[in-house]
Symmetry: D2
Subunit: 155 residues, 4 copies
């Protein structure tokens, strides 16, 4: 099973620990982690996955495989910049969004538009006309996020 | 000047009137409207622009120029699906988001990630950790939206 | 009618004169020129078109509208690098290939794969198993190229 | 090492045997096969690779992982149609072109434009002004093709 992890290319130490935990949990459940292949949340999640013996695919925005973080075992070089976010979304069954800025927001939008479940850890909240949308499945920690992601897919 | 208009491929009558007004105002200010080229908000905005003598570019998701609504004078056929939203964002100086669902949300995310100002008419509200972000410039009607868009660019 | 002009980002003086002539002829026939928007053949063709009062669309590979040559009136900013060649092909009814290197070859391949007629001016010749393919319509000068392009579309 | 295999989505029995041999040889040399993930040459090459214990990545043009042939172990879902050919080229160190039509020609063009070596098995011949270009490394059978591909990379 392919599961996406999305989040910023830079992140705090605290968020990195969260992302690493998500990577580790994914690996322990036998899931392949798909992400954008760069630093921050992506790197921390890949490190967690690899250290637990898991597989990691990095869908890179630029033109060089060398841009991938050291924990990506399968770098895919797209050269299409931030549009590569859409390839991540299309290649997975569920996405875990961790923290993140506007790039992560656009990725959440693409996932929800496509009907891919999004599990959120300390990420965006979305409202329309003053009313909070419950479209993101909230998780409280890494273990909870991966359990909710697996549950969302098995529905 | 190229200004983007984003919003759903289907919309209510009320939203269509709003979008048509935005298109008309853009034409009257001499701006070229860039949108996704399909129905709903896109079609209404193009109709407003064309009826006021303006120019309209449609960046189409599919493989056929014939998919463009009748008010697009310059159809660009991308074949890259929803990723074409990013081309709209990159080709304009400011974006007006009208209503919209998750596709519009992803487009707002792309614009803000790139530093393109977003003027919102009855669209998404974004929060993080319970705190509303003020990254979208709120407008109250079509005239106000176009004035705020022009002001955001001239800064 | 949208007609594509493809060729190298650098070219000899002789090829530039050919491209400028193609641009001029397109404008005189009321066609809109669509190209990659950069230098060399693209710039020369756009200059010819604009000086004859025609319209020019540049589908740019990078992230900046400023990369367009001075004769592009409608820059589309894709950020997808050489993949933007496919958008050129999809947006036109016929393509005129002038000189060019491997990028032009890939564009010819995309056009023929899609069933878009290709008129060639001093460009690639294609063979399989020692047998020349006649898939490119050969032209002898700018005027001939544009006439053959228009004829290919009106079929 | 990632090596690309390109060729038509349909092919003769004879070409399929050739492609299967290329896949097998790649696996035996420990290379990961990257292809477009569909039928014909792609499917035959993936089958050869998997039956010899190798790894196979399919960069799919459409929106569904289910479109991948049965021998792809890592499907990447792009939704960008034939542009996905460029992602294949960017993700590999060398490409083996087998037979193929205009789509394969465009892929050869992209590879050569990027400086990626192309090994050809019964594929296109390229000329300019009546002079054959020697830019494609000719191979006589599957074993020869893989040996030449590996040699081209180790330069």
């Amino acid at each position: 099973m392919f599961i996406g992890v999305i989040g910023g290319g830079r992140c705090s130490k605290k968020v990195a620990i969260l992302a690493e935990g998500v990577g580790r949990e994914l690996a322990e459940h036998g899931a392949t982690l798909v992400c954008g292949g760069l630093g921050g949340v992506m790197e921390a999640a890949c490190r967690g996955a690899r250290e637990a013996g898991g597989r990691t695919i990095g869908i890179l925005p630029g033109n060089r495989a060398e841009d991938a973080n050291a924990y990506v075992d399968t770098p895919i070089v797209t050269g299409i910049g931030e549009m590569r976010n859409v390839i991540i979304i299309k290649s997975v069954e569920v996405v875990i969004a961790i923290d993140g800025q506007y790039g992560t927001l656009s990725e959440i939008g693409h996932a929800l538009a496509r009907g891919i479940p999004v599990v959120g850890l300390d990420t965006w909240e979305l409202s329309q006309r003053g009313k909070l949308k419950d479209s993101i499945i909230l998780a409280k920690d890494a273990k909870d996020a991966v359990e909710k992601a697996l549950a969302a897919v098995s529905v």
